[in-house]
């Protein structure tokens, strides 16, 4: 999806939210001008519709309009709504009159350039002429239709819908039909399907579509394969924990802890909601093993058999391919990313310099140290000044925890590249940074460590970022705390790249009554909220970097509270982290 389109869609939403005085709604329509920019006046009208009328009723009615002339019916209803809303809002918004005239003028000037006139376009232009105080220029029939749809500000939602029904029957012998399907499903299908009209935005109003979600299914055939593979990975869940461990280790690499250490960690961490879950801390499959895996069994002790072996092989091959893709993506955009690295490094450096911890030392020039002045007078000693020497340590360490569940499939290359940018620039500034990703497969939450604090040149490992499986956010946060213990800095910052929709196929393991509760939706979100709170209690600054749908955005706010940065696309990831850290540096230590 083109950058500009995303930005303009977001801009259109902003118009709507502001006019509706509600930032929580997901509008059914967005309005664009033919050149693809957000249309100020029409989006205002959409927002005002939500402000003044019953949102559910109107949306439902719009969804009942269909047939080959749907665009006509929708267009007429919009003309009616515009007419009524203008009258309602004019009293409190003086700019509306001028905006309306501007809209009408622009629309008409555009019209002259286009040769094809559909009925709705003609009627709309008639409407625009009337706005400008001219004659509508329509034939008698069309003019009658236009005036039948000229609703007034006094009408209620129900009256408007009823009047529209009557008009449509009277002039077009059309009756809107009630959706028979279950509400939710039907609605979603309609929104997505209807979006294809975006190419010819002559109508101005376009059905809104969730860009973020669309991204996930954009990659045609490949996506289907990925889905199948994801299914495969999720499918073969068996109860044998040893087998699961072998399987996961074969896919993601050996644990960095010994069996005993591992047990201890799990005893401490995998409790409550995460009872019976397991953790795998790994640095990935190491080079030598990687090469031989293709023709050798993953674990010599106990061979993995049949389908599993095939799955593991497939997965490992896919990982290699993805790694290659990640690299290629970076190479192709090298100039861009290098530039990002440079900019980010510079900005952080300036910040660090400004605040760097300073220790006073006696000097013969610098700031006068009052309590030592007497020495100059009586002892003739020149060292009565202080100079502040800077130290290298920034006083904090940064942990970046990236969601690597299959919902990230479509942007693995970008995530890898952005993480590389971050690791490189923070490293150059001397900020200790640890980067890992998490995903959950077969009851194992895999913490893949790409770079730990002390490593200096581990960045290329980030190209091994691969997305698969679920995300059990709560457990991942606990595991991250375990990893953070290695930091010797006084302050720890944890940045979480998330889509705020934790879910795992392993159920919540607490209490006899809840045995079958799935780790999804509310349960998962509440668990994540609790974990974030707990980490903060332990003095870790947890900041969410959120990218996902508007609806999940609300969940993200619940989880992270104010410590949340929303990004519109993954390209802003490094930038956003930079900004957060900059503020962190500027405000100093707690």
């Amino acid at each position: 999806m083109a950058e500009k389109e995303l930005t303009e869609a977001k801009r259109a939403r902003n118009f709507i939210w502001a006019a509706a005085e509600n930032y929580g709604i997901e509008p059914l329509f967005l309005a664009f001008t033919p050149d693809g920019t957000a249309d100020m006046y029409l989006n205002l009208i959409i927002g005002l519709m939500y402000k003044w009328y019953d949102r559910e009723k109107i949306d439902r009615f719009f969804n009942q309009l269909g047939g080959k002339d749907r665009e006509l019916y929708e267009g007429l209803l919009w003309i009616g709504l515009e007419h009524a809303l203008y009258q309602k809002e004019r009293k409190t918004r003086s700019a509306l009159e001028d905006l309306r005239r501007e809209y009408a003028e622009e629309n008409l000037s555009r019209y002259r350039k286009y040769k094809e006139y559909s009925v709705i376009e003609q009627i709309r232009n008639g409407h625009c002429r009337e706005i400008l105080g001219e004659d509508s220029g329509l034939n008698a029939d069309d003019e009658e239709v236009l005036h039948a749809f000229s609703y007034t500000g006094e009408m209620t939602t129900d009256q408007i819908i009823e009047q529209t029904r009557q008009n449509l029957w009277k002039y077009f012998s059309y009756r809107p039909t009630v959706a028979v399907n279950k509400k939710g499903v039907y609605f979603l299908q309609k929104v997505v399907g209807a979006f294809h009209s975006v190419g010819k935005v002559s109508s101005g109003y376009v059905r809104a579509k969730n860009y973020e979600d669309a991204d996930l299914s954009a990659d045609g055939t490949n996506a289907a394969n990925d889905r199948a593979r994801h299914y495969l990975l999720q499918f073969s869940v068996r109860q044998d924990p040893e087998a699961a461990k072998r399987y996961v280790e074969a896919c993601f690499g050996k644990s960095i802890y010994s069996g005993r250490q591992q047990e201890q960690i799990e005893q401490n961490v995998c409790t409550g909601n995460h009872k019976n879950c397991h953790l795998l801390f790994t640095r990935g499959i190491q080079g030598t093993v990687r090469g031989t895996l293709k023709d050798k069994k993953a674990d010599a002790r106990e061979p993995v058999k049949g389908r599993e072996l095939r799955e593991i092989r497939e997965f490992n091959e896919a990982c290699e391919q993805q790694c290659e893709k990640n690299r290629r993506h970076f190479e192709q955009n090298r100039a861009l990313y290098q530039n990002s690295i440079r900019k980010l490094t510079e900005r952080m450096r300036i910040c660090l310099e400004e605040r760097e911890e300073a220790f006073a030392r006696t000097a013969i020039h610098g700031t006068l140290h009052p309590s030592k002045v007497w020495k100059a007078v009586y002892l003739d000693e020149p060292g009565i000044f202080e100079r502040r020497e800077e130290t290298d340590s920034p006083g904090f360490s940064v942990d970046i925890l990236m969601d690597a569940s299959s919902s990230r499939k479509q942007m693995q290359e970008q995530i890898a590249a952005q993480a590389y940018v971050l690791a490189k620039s923070l490293g150059q500034c001397g900020i200790p940074v640890q980067i890992c990703s998490y995903c959950s497969v077969r009851g194992y939450t895999v913490m893949r460590i790409f770079k730990s604090y002390e490593e200096e040149h581990g960045e290329t490992e980030l190209f091994r970022y691969v997305a698969a499986g679920n995300n059990r956010d709560g457990l991942a946060l606990r595991a991250a705390e375990v990893l953070m213990e290695r930091s010797d800095q006084s302050q720890k910052i944890l940045l979480v790249l998330t889509d705020a929709s934790p879910q795992d196929d392993r159920n919540v393991g607490e209490g006899a009554f809840y045995r079958d509760k799935e780790y999804t939706d509310l349960t998962a979100v509440q668990d994540t909220i609790r974990e974030v709170r707990r980490l903060r209690h332990h003095g870790v600054r947890v900041i969410g970097i959120f990218m996902g749908s508007t609806r999940a955005g609300e969940t993200a706010v619940q989880i992270f509270g104010r410590e949340l940065v929303k990004i519109r696309n993954i390209g802003e990831f490094a930038e956003a982290v930079g900004r957060v850290l900059q503020e962190e540096i500027n405000t100093g230590k707690p």
């Binding site: 930005t7 801009r11 902003n14 118009f15 939210w17 502001a18 006019a19 005085e21 930032y23 957000a38 100020m40 205002l44 409190t92 918004r93 003086s94 700019a95 009159e97 001028d98 905006l99 501007e102 605040r355 300073a358 009052p370 309590s371 002045v373 007497w374 007078v377 900041i543 706010v557 104010r562 410590e563 949340l564 940065v565 929303k566 957060v580 503020e583 962190e584 500027n586 405000t587 100093g588 230590k589 707690p590």
Partner: protein, 304 residues
């Protein structure tokens, strides 16, 4: 100034309380210049009543609120209303105990104590405004603990221990924003009565604008107020940062418009350009344009 409070509809017994406070604690002449004048007034009856009651009860105040909620203006107003000299301390990361209480200096051939703002305010019974108190490190603020709680004293190592003048109050302000703002430590917060500063109301904003530029008509002020509150909402919902949420900038822009600058240009200078992100600027400009018509001119607002 007490008359102005009456205009705001503040309870008469509180106003009498203030009068009695002023009567009881006279200000020495050398500090008279430190008493703030009544240039601008904070409009918000509830906040006023909360604060006056707390001060009359001997409490120190912590004003918490987002940007542009009038924290500093209100702190200044309080000092003005109670007729106390005011000391301002702006907090920053490198703040230390010495810059609050005072430090050694060399005068007349010997090392003497040079009082800092907190010490001076404590002696003179002033109001010390601790601006952006959360910007300093907690260690630096620990020296204030004894000063702020029931002990009401300052112990300067190597010098005498002084008791606070009974009229001394501390008014701290603190910004609470998005990612990057710091929490205040509990020990310190517990020593204050905390007032959550509300977002300025539309009517107060209109009054403020018109007090700043008396020639500005009601309609113009109304549009500007609506526009500013919409920006507020955008910021609250995380669509834009708080950079453009600049009340000072808005007032400045009104001044520019009155002087003859084009409305959009003036608002760009006062608000939009405070953000350096082009996308954010677009959103801010969009908000302005949906509220204020392109055709609006200065003369329509300033009624000539």
């Amino acid at each position: 100034m007490l008359d102005k409070l009456r205009e705001l509809g503040i309870r008469e017994d509180l106003i009498e309380g203030i009068a009695a406070f002023r009567e009881k604690y006279q200000v020495a002449d050398i500090y008279r210049s430190r008493i703030p004048g009544p240039e601008q007034l904070y409009y918000g009856k509830e906040v006023w009543e909360q604060a006056i009651t707390a001060i009359l009860c001997g409490e120190n105040l912590l004003l918490v609120g987002q940007k542009a909620t009038g924290k500093n203006l209100f702190a200044e107003n309080l000092a003005g209303v109670f007729g106390r000299p005011r000391w301002d301390v702006s907090f920053h990361v490198n703040m230390d105990a010495a810059s609050l209480i005072g430090m050694d200096t060399f005068r007349g051939g010997e090392v003497t104590f040079r009082p800092g703002p907190v010490y001076a305010a404590a002696k003179a019974g002033g109001f010390a405004v601790l601006d952006e108190v959360n910007m300093a490190r907690s260690e630096a603020l620990a020296v204030l603990h004894a000063t702020l709680d029931f002990r009401r004293s300052i112990d300067v190592p190597g010098y005498e221990r002084i008791e606070l003048h009974p009229a001394t109050r501390f008014i701290a302000t603190m910004n609470y924003g998005y990612a990057g703002t710091k929490e205040l430590n509990e020990a310190l917060v517990s020593r204050f009565a905390v007032i959550q500063m509300p977002v300025i109301s539309k009517s107060s904003l209109i009054r403020l604008l018109r007090a700043h530029a008396p020639a500005l008509g009601k309609d113009g002020a109304g549009e500007l107020a609506e526009m500013f509150l919409e920006l507020y909402k955008k910021c609250e919902n995380g669509e834009i940062s708080s950079k453009a949420l600049d009340l000072r900038g808005l007032l400045g822009a009104v001044g520019l418009i009155e002087r003859g600058l084009d409305i959009y240009t003036a608002l760009d200078m006062g608000l939009t350009n405070k953000s350096f992100d082009p996308y954010e600027q677009t959103l801010i400009r969009d908000t302005i344009h949906t509220r204020i018509s392109r055709k609006m001119t200065r003369s329509e607002w300033f009624g000539e």
